[in-house]
């Protein structure tokens, strides 16, 4: 008793050094059983009575209630609220939205079905996860990206209508998509295949002749939407089956744009903020540090993984963290057609190119993937024609998709590079020179990007560079010479095709 009092009143008696000595002895003794403890403390303290008293003071019995937080503790309530989701009273957001029920959750937020009172309709509201609102950078990111997505209008992207905040809780309002995610499609397809059911027209509607054809169509449309977003300088960063919804007509819709970037690699060490599945991450997403620069090709890789999974019903790399990381970084995926022999060779080629470990060997843009003539042979790969109807005026072969953009800052004034995809039915994609900004300059067709007004120099850093011309022994160029003169693909001239 006196010991505590001494410490409390006369710091000189128990100074910091003595205190920490007592703590050390206490820590050692703590590891021992009741019986040995006393003897050990006695030995360790020797004839230092005061030290002994301090150490013994740490072992005093206390009543169970002493210093136990009351059940009604404010902080307990606060924590509970942060764990379980919004406490919006009465389940109302802003002036206009009434939450009905949670229908899903993404990396950063929980999605609710909600009533929009003023318009008498149902919408989807994504509310930021409570514990993430504790970090200002994440709040900023959530809002910024919501705003960026709100500026996008594309049939393959779920539109965002309102971005708001209620009691410090950011949210945004989207169309409510009545459909299912590709994750659910995959689950059902697996179940049916296991029981010998081949029927798929309700899973991927659209009157396709075969599953691979339906998949090809779906992935091409997804690639179009992705290409569109890349051209708005928005990376998705979390392409996976959960984030691709399929509506009643079998059209894909991308959701959950780019919101996960900050929390994919390490988070803040808080495991609750870590995203569940690493299986769709690109090698550069895994190997890069937090500030690693990703570009469009990272999303293309992830889309390749989705394509692979849709075709084979298994993911190219299985396993848990961190083994899965090593697999993605070092291993080749099992050959697609060995797992699914009925898949056309062209789709395997497309998948292989999208999933190449080396970003330089991948498609340059998601549009390039969608346009790949090999895809059209493999099934009705809805290339440019469909999307051109839906979006009049959009160039089909724009190269802007290859701009790697770190943040959701649209490049409004980005000059459209000269198109250089095809000329007179000959695929020029092998002639890489045209596609580099420097070659651009040299060819006299335009100024380098760095010279263009309005182009941020920091973004130039993240332009993917074309790798060497040869491609791994794949006879791609030769193959494409014969394929590119597709009836529905208008031949692009060599002159400026900017709209």
């Amino acid at each position: 008793m006196e010991c505590g009092a001494l410490v409390a009143t006369e710091g000189s008696v128990v100074n910091a050094e003595r205190w920490s000595r007592a703590k050390d002895i206490y820590a050692q003794a703590w590891e021992l059983g009741q019986g040995e403890r006393k003897a050990y403390v006695g030995r360790a303290c020797g004839d230092d009575e005061e030290l002994l008293q301090v150490v013994e003071g740490f072992f005093l019995e206390t009543s169970e209630d002493f210093l136990r937080a009351p059940d009604s503790s404010i902080a307990t309530g606060l924590l509970a609220a942060f764990r379980t989701g919004p406490v919006v009273s009465p389940r109302r957001l802003g002036e206009d939205f009434e939450l009905v029920e949670p229908i899903g959750s993404g990396a950063m937020g929980i999605v609710y079905r909600a009533n929009q009172i003023s318009l008498g309709r149902q919408v989807a509201v994504k509310i930021m996860q409570h514990h993430l609102t504790l970090s200002r950078p994440w709040v900023e990111r959530f809002k910024r990206e919501a705003q960026a997505v709100a500026r996008m209008r594309h049939p393959g992207i779920v539109p965002v209508h309102v971005v708001g905040e209620d009691s410090g809780l950011p949210y945004f309002v989207m169309d409510l998509v009545e459909g299912k995610s590709l994750r659910e499609v995959l689950r059902e397809r697996r179940r049916r295949m296991a029981s010998g059911e081949a029927q798929f027209s309700d899973l991927l509607p659209g009157g396709h002749a075969s599953w691979p054809a339906a998949v090809a169509g779906l992935v091409a449309r997804t690639a179009r939407a992705l290409d569109f977003s890349h051209r708005q300088a928005i990376l998705h960063r979390d392409i996976k089956p959960e984030n691709i919804l399929v509506d009643g007509e079998g059209h894909p819709l991308l959701v959950d744009f780019g919101l996960a970037k900050e929390i994919l690699p390490d988070g803040d060490g808080d495991s609750t903020t870590r995203v569940g599945t690493p299986h769709y991450m690109s090698p550069e997403q895994i190997s890069g540090n937090a500030s690693a620069v990703l570009d469009a090709r990272s999303d293309i890789y992830s889309l390749g993984v989705v394509l692979y999974e849709l075709l084979t019903l298994r993911r190219p790399f299985e396993g848990e963290m961190p083994d899965i990381f090593r697999s993605i970084l070092e291993e080749d995926a099992p050959r697609l057609r060995r797992l699914a022999p009925r898949v056309p060779a062209d789709l395997e080629t497309i998948c292989g190119q999208a999933m190449d470990r080396d970003p330089d060997r991948r498609y340059f843009s998601a549009g390039e993937l969608a346009d790949d003539p090999a895809g059209r042979r493999a099934g009705p790969f809805p290339g440019g024609s469909i999307q051109r109807d839906e979006l009049p005026g959009l160039p089909t072969r724009s190269r802007e998709g290859r701009l790697g953009i770190r943040d959701a800052e649209p490049l409004r004034s980005l000059p459209r590079p000269r198109q250089c995809g095809r000329m007179d039915g000959v695929d020029l994609r092998g002639e890489r020179g045209h596609e580099r900004p420097s070659a651009f300059l040299a060819s006299g067709q335009g100024r380098s990007l760095a010279e263009q007004p309005g182009v941020r120099p920091d973004l130039l850093r993240v332009l993917p560079r074309r790798g060497p011309v040869e491609r791994h022994g794949l006879p791609l160029r030769q193959e494409r010479h014969t394929l590119s003169a597709h009836p529905e693909e208008p031949v692009q001239g060599g002159d400026h095709a900017n709209r």
């Binding site: 410490v7 703590w30 206390t62 009351p70 902080a75 504790l134 970090s135 808080d270």
Partner: protein, 193 residues
């Protein structure tokens, strides 16, 4: 929707700012924080009372809970991360409770809805066999010897955090927190008796 722009809520003089300063040990900020918190608590409580249908009475703790939730959530974006937030909230709860226990003892504050609610809260803490004023003083003395131990007490007792969460916040193992917590309770029991 809250119309207040972020900088108003986290700039100098804001509750967030005062919270941060207080936790860095700024005494002046602490008293300013308490005043700001009281003002905001009153404001929220009155507003809540007005919104209440006639004949309904709100549980004092429910009222406080709601108000604190709102205040701390508004302050939240000012924190580095969850750990920082929890540590700060726990420290703030210590300040608020001790301050109110003192006001109660000296009958300094006029009775009001918030005071009643805070009384209730202080009582629920005092029932844990603790004189809050004496505890506060003992923690101040302990701080000079063992600041980590004080943080654990703040998180466990004032913050109401479990052992695992406390371990996360201070970046120690669960076992260490259990050991330190046990020592802290023993030491404080003696210091308070």
């Amino acid at each position: 929707m809250t119309g207040a722009p972020t900088d108003l809520r986290s700039g100098p003089g804001s509750i967030t700012w005062l919270l941060l300063r207080t936790c860095e040990g700024d005494r002046a900020a602490r008293s300013e924080l308490l005043e700001a918190l009281h003002a905001r608590l009153h404001e929220l409580a009155e507003q809540r009372m007005r919104d209440q249908p006639a004949g309904h009475t709100l549980q004092p703790t429910a009222l406080l809970n709601e108000a604190f939730l709102k205040i701390f959530r508004e302050a939240a974006p000012g924190f580095r991360d969850r750990q920082h937030f929890l540590a700060t909230v726990s420290r703030a709860m210590r300040c608020i409770l001790v301050d109110h226990a003192r006001a109660k003892a000296t009958r300094k504050r006029a009775p009001s809805g918030v005071a009643v609610a805070l009384n209730f809260l202080v009582d629920s803490y005092q029932r844990r066999a603790v004189d809050l004023l004496a505890l506060d003083e003992a923690l101040d003395r302990l701080f000079s010897l063992d600041p980590d131990m004080v943080r654990i007490v703040e998180l466990r007792f004032f913050g109401g955090l479990g052992v695992e969460e406390t371990a996360q916040v201070i970046g120690q193992s669960v076992r260490t927190v259990e050991r330190e917590w046990s020592a802290a309770r023993s030491w404080l029991r003696r210091a308070l008796s």
